[in-house]
Amino acid sequence: MDARIKSAHDGGAYGDVGDRNDRLSGDTPMTLLETRDLTIRFGGHVAVNSVSCTFRPGELTAIVGPNGAGKTTYFNLISGQLRPSDGSILFDGADITQLSAPLRTRAGLGRAFQLTNLFPNLSVEENVRLAVQSQSGVHYDMLRPWMTRRDLIARADAILDKVALGGRRNVAATQLSHGDQRKLEVALMMALEPKVFMFDEPTAGMSIDEVPVVLNLIAQLKQDLSKIILLVEHKMDVVRSLADRIIVLHNGQLVADGKPAEVIASPIVQEAYLGIAPGRSAA
């Protein structure tokens, strides 16, 4: 699980990581996640239109595009909240198109939602503890009191400290500020220890001084080269500083895919997205 896997486009983007070639020798570049001709129609509207894309471990891909371009729908298809009308999703060598959302989570697809999606009346600690419990495979244990599993509580607390919510652990999730709820959302995903982290606008609606906490977390996760990070984000400065690769969705179609500098410079992106909305910072 912890084995570092060499990235396919080894080189420039990771020039600072000197030891990466020693971590795993003789391994071929590998695709962990792939969507093939992924399509979903709602009535006559094609929200995601035949998107084929591969994602490799150690790569942070930013997904950009105007509002309504199908970014969140694309996420919902990958994490299983929606079933595609056409196409397939491959993960870790298996076709997961028919797998339910909980089973995809167990397989290693982690998701943080755009609209904060928590257990509002449970404590902050309990929110994360539930995620840790799921990750540990404790699903139907009904004979022991939950508090005897101190290991789960300790792991939850450690994650809360990482997202700087340790001091709020006994507060009900609904009483957190918006920014703290976003951090808790990220904490839930981290607790799942997924292979794929899917961030859907993690900094949306956050105050300016809270944004770095989340960005630092993402930057830390990036250090682990066995993970895929997918990031839907509107703030171009964030995308520029974090992304190894940008894909652009427009009207449900994949219109550009490449290194940040190339994609941002390409005419189609200038016209479809960046040209009209470079100044906006959040949805």
């Binding site: 994490s79 909240q81 339910s100 959302a101 909980p102 089973l103 989570t105 167990r106 998701r111 939602f113 999606n117 928590l118 257990f119 509002p120 009346n121 449970l122 309990e126 503890r129 539930l130 995620a131 419990q133 799921s134 990750q135 404790v138 699903h139 139907y140 244990d141 009904m142 004979l143 022991r144 009191p145 939950w146 508090m147 005897t148 599993r149 789960l152 507060v171 009483q175 839930l188 799942l192």
Partner: protein, 356 residues
């Protein structure tokens, strides 16, 4: 602490009230050996367990079931029919248990897997339909269930009122079969409530609360919620069926009115709400308040009415006339729901807590 699964009452007043109720139930046969007091105490014990199992569904998972009396009835009828047809004996009791519990379990499993996949309202509708069908079935299959008359039966020798185990001379009270049956019910109900307390405070029970809060998110965390909900439904059904068996043993009878009717379903709902949903302890308090009011309010009002008449007060004797007891019972419930929206337990717990 461990016997309570790490979930103590968390309120001094609540602890005292619970201790008083449980102690009163424990000594009822010694202090109030009369038939009425014993019947009331037994009903409180059985309903505390029955309501606690309903709380597992309504309070912890948020699913509304109308089939709880059906499972209660399955338990009652299986013991009654077994004892009726096989004659009084422990083999018959065992047969009733061996048939009744798996039947309740299978039915709960089928209903759960069939209807808990989708929205909660569908589960409510399915349980309503199945429970109605079961009620009709029980009154139509006269050759098996005795129809509207139900089935009366005799208990095994040991549990009969005539069986004297320790005569009055030894400890100052008589331990007969009736008292033994009472303590059997008391212990059985206590064991079921403690088991439910363990379930709701287990890692599994925590997932149930998460599903109540946000089922979508629980799924996204990797919990296959349909199984959690189905298991909860099965556990609730097993406890309800067991409570039904205890009820049949006490009444020496099982019929539609004592175990299957929707009036009982309403009583259960009221007891959960009055006691406090999602607490388990609320079941004990709700059952005690409700059943005491149901049985003693009339007598209390009669006394109050007479006292008011003697004092020569206008209007009051009429208002407090015992025939109006249902009106006052209704007002009592409206008041309790209005003043304790989170139930008695929720209210008592929030008193001691500082506002954060």
């Amino acid at each position: 602490m461990m016997v309570l699964s790490g979930d103590p009452p968390r309120s001094r007043v609540l602890s005292i009230v619970l201790i008083v109720i449980i102690a009163a139930l424990a000594v009822t046969p010694l202090v109030f050996p009369g038939a009425k007091a014993m019947n009331v105490a037994t009903k409180i014990c059985i309903f505390a367990a029955l309501v606690a199992s309903y709380d597992l569904l309504l309070g912890y998972t948020g699913s509304v079931s109308f089939a709880h009396t059906m499972f209660y009835g399955i338990g009652s009828y299986s013991v009654a029919i077994a004892l009726y047809s096989m004659g009084p004996g422990w083999a018959a009791v065992a047969t009733g248990i061996v048939i009744g519990l798996p039947l309740a379990l299978l039915l709960a499993l089928a209903i759960g897997l069939f209807s808990l996949r989708v929205e909660a309202i569908f589960f409510a509708m399915i349980t309503l339909a199945v429970a109605s069908a079961f009620l009709v079935l029980a009154s139509q299959l006269s050759w098996l269930t005795g129809g509207e008359d139900g089935r009366s039966f005799q208990l095994p020798e040991l549990l009969r009122p005539g069986t004297v185990l320790i005569s009055k001379g030894v400890f100052g009270f008589e331990l007969n079969g009736r008292v033994l049956t009472y303590y059997l019910i008391f212990a059985g109900s206590a064991a079921m409530i403690l088991a439910l307390l363990r379930v709701v405070n287990s890692p599994f029970g925590r997932v149930l609360q998460a599903i109540r809060e946000n089922r979508f998110r629980a799924e996204a965390l990797g919990f296959r919620t349909v199984f959690h909900l189905t298991y909860a439904n099965c556990i609730a059904a097993l406890v309800a069926a067991s409570a039904g068996m205890l009820n049949a043993l006490w009444l020496r009878y099982a019929g539609p009115d004592t175990s299957l009717s929707f009036a009982i379903m309403l009583d259960i709902l009221l007891m959960v709400v009055i006691g406090g949903m999602g607490t388990i302890y609320g079941a004990i308090i709700g059952a005690a308040i409700f059943i005491l009011a149901q049985n003693y309010l009339q007598a209390l009002m009669s006394a109050a009415s007479n006292a008011a008449a003697d004092a020569g007060l206008p209007l009051l004797p009429g208002l407090l006339h015992p025939d109006r007891w249902l009106l006052w019972l209704g007002l009592l419930f409206i008041a309790s729901v209005y003043f304790f929206p989170t139930g008695v337990v929720g209210r008592l717990r929030s008193i001691g807590r500082k506002p954060s």
